[in-house]
Symmetry: C2
Subunit: 390 residues, 2 copies
């Protein structure tokens, strides 16, 4: 290396442009599109499933907390960052889910890193569905455990990987509602398999919580697993609760262990008081309006049925998320842009955001969508569909 003359400073990052050029050619370039405060058009792309981010009770609680507690938490959770707001939120989350305890992180991403790394290690095997959220994949990569990522939705493959592992301990890691297609993991079957092989189960319920189960208690609660001693749930406070942050919910000993050892908890600034207060307020709304979540699932089912009737190969939604494959990354981008021009905002998922490499339109629904909203969305999405999409 040292024999060749060093690069000029302005050439050190030339390789970034070369890689960027290759991505652009493959239709995989990305561009930020900042939005104004007031949405125009119909939002079928956000994770704000219950419409709570802009709910006056929720936004008002955030504003009041910023004024009372300050704009930031001022330190890590084990420094000055734990406020009584954080512990109240943890208490309420655990109670709502029917678990012993909860721990709030600054994001769902950080909660997933913390849960997966702290509950595994060099003496562990982790068995995971290939389609789990990238934050769980990052947790696996950080864990020092043996990793087996098996075919999507194949419990028998999980069972086989557990049975043939070389490590004494094991963790099965899954999404409840897979974030790309919106399909549901067979949680009861996975729990059963875990128990046959002394494995713990970690479920990311980011897209189930607030949408599925009794009053929105989530997919883990719906499967009767939320108070089990060998099951751990991770949540996002930024999806149905409309705030920011994440949480791990489960047995008290697990939460204690995370406080001591989870590096994405120990070495991160605590969640801002405004976001903790917003999540708390959203949880109160959910308790006061237990029928809200069912509206989301109903709307998703209706949207999927209408798109299917229009000839599009839509995924069958179990919660708020559905997707429609596109013939190529470029076609997906063009489709999404054509929809946006007609006021329908849908998501665009391309590699590396899709586990199978297939670019997609990704649609989400909210509780407050009307029949007219859905009709208009279907009309625009089908009218703008590229030739190879149906």
């Amino acid at each position: 290396m040292t024999a060749t003359p060093p690069l000029l400073p302005e050439n050190v990052f030339d390789w970034l442009d070369a890689e960027g050029g290759r991505r652009a050619e493959a239709g995989l370039g990305r561009r930020l599109r900042p939005r104004p405060a007031q949405h125009t058009g119909l939002d079928l792309a956000s994770d704000d499933y219950l419409g709570l981010a802009r709910d006056k009770r929720v936004a008002g609680a955030a504003a009041a907390a910023a004024l009372r507690w300050g704009a930031g938490a001022t330190g890590s959770r084990l420094g000055t960052g734990s406020t009584e707001l954080h512990s109240e939120l943890e208490h309420e989350l655990a109670r709502f889910c029917g678990a012993q305890a909860a721990l709030v992180f600054s994001s769902g991403f950080a909660a997933n890193l913390g849960a997966v790394t702290a509950l595994s290690g060099a003496e562990s095997a982790i068995v995971t569905d290939k389609h789990v959220h990238p934050s769980l994949v990052e947790g696996c990569r950080l864990s020092r455990a043996d990793i087996a990522a098996v075919a999507h939705a194949t419990p028998s493959a999980i069972k086989h990987a557990l049975a043939t592992r070389r490590k004494p301990r094991a963790l099965v890691v899954t999404d409840s509602v897979f974030s790309v297609d919106g399909d549901l993991a067979p949680l009861d079957e996975l729990a059963e398999i875990c128990r046959g092989h002394s494995a713990a189960l970690v479920v990311d319920d980011a897209h189930g919580f607030g949408v599925l189960g009794e009053g929105g208690r989530g997919a883990v609660h719906a499967a009767g697993l939320s108070s089990e001693p060998d099951v751990v749930t991770t949540l996002a406070l930024s999806t149905a609760l409309g705030a920011q942050g994440g949480a791990v919910v489960g047995p008290r000993r697990v939460i204690r262990h995370l406080v001591d050892t989870a590096r994405s908890f120990l070495f991160d600034t605590a969640l801002a008081p405004a976001s903790a207060a917003a999540a708390l307020a959203a949880l109160q709304v959910l308790k006061a309006e237990p029928d809200l979540p069912a509206k989301v699932v109903e709307n998703a089912g209706n949207l999927a049925m209408q798109l299917k009737n229009a000839g599009l190969p839509v995924s069958l939604p179990e919660a708020a998320v559905l997707s429609v494959p596109a013939p190529s990354a470029e076609a997906a981008v063009a489709w999404v842009e054509a929809c946006a021009e007609q006021g329908i905002h849908v998501g665009c998922f391309r590699p590396p955001a899709v586990p199978d490499g297939v670019s997609r339109l990704r649609l989400t629904v909210r509780a407050d969508l009307s029949e007219a909203d859905l009709d208009r969305a279907v009309k625009v999405i089908t009218a703008t569909a590229p030739p190879g999409a149906s």
Copy 2:
């Protein structure tokens, strides 16, 4: 494995209690201590160096943004999560630092993961000081690069590792102000070494930004490196700016590359509008009061000198952070608790938060501390010092 009968579900996590017991015996157990909205006593533990978290201009901006934009960002930065607030903050951060561009993440932790992983890879070597922040260490572990973590504050070791690397590309990763002892990396010397070996330099300026350099522009700006084409800076919006979040600041091509590839950016919910607005407002305060940062450095110097004069082996602070080693983890905890009982809140750093395994009192100062505050702190800290501390 499969021949032995499986564990009962309630025994799957028994190993956590066993590990917790070992930590407790070694004085390494941790307990959350939620604080009320109104501080009592003197805070020498937070990262709120300029006292901006509770500043009315900053907290007021957070509150107004929650009401106007909603409690949460509702999606990822490439989904619905990028607001005009985020892009304004990015523009202002870049301008303030004298860099081409900036990208806001949901935390400083996420910014560090993103910068280190996206700017390295299997074709890269990363050379890093052993004392860098744990979030940079996690970034290195995720990077697939060859990692050399060299002795603290030893530029010659960094040079040697670069010269003997087996990979074509290289990244040198360092804190500016090291977060445990508050000492400063020799940024100009490191930049020089990088240029001799075609390496890029990534500097975590979480504890320098808002404190060091002209008007608080940070340690990278002070070293004249903030607009260099081969230097990238990461920031926390949760330290001197009193908000939440993180950012990467640097050449435009680097920011473009992060938008396309940084997994902790792509797969995370965007920072809440309230936190983005708070950081923006704090930046305005910093511009309006350019003498504020110097007060912090002055206070840190005074506190260190007084503790040193009282016979304590305090680190020499270059910014807002200083530390005093304790004879053991238990002694550190007892010392911190004794201080707290007398109304002086200081930090306690023990393994795994200390890179050298030495437990410490960690002290931070703020711009608004009075001479009387410092006198009282010194009195209490020295009066409660354990026998082996001096």
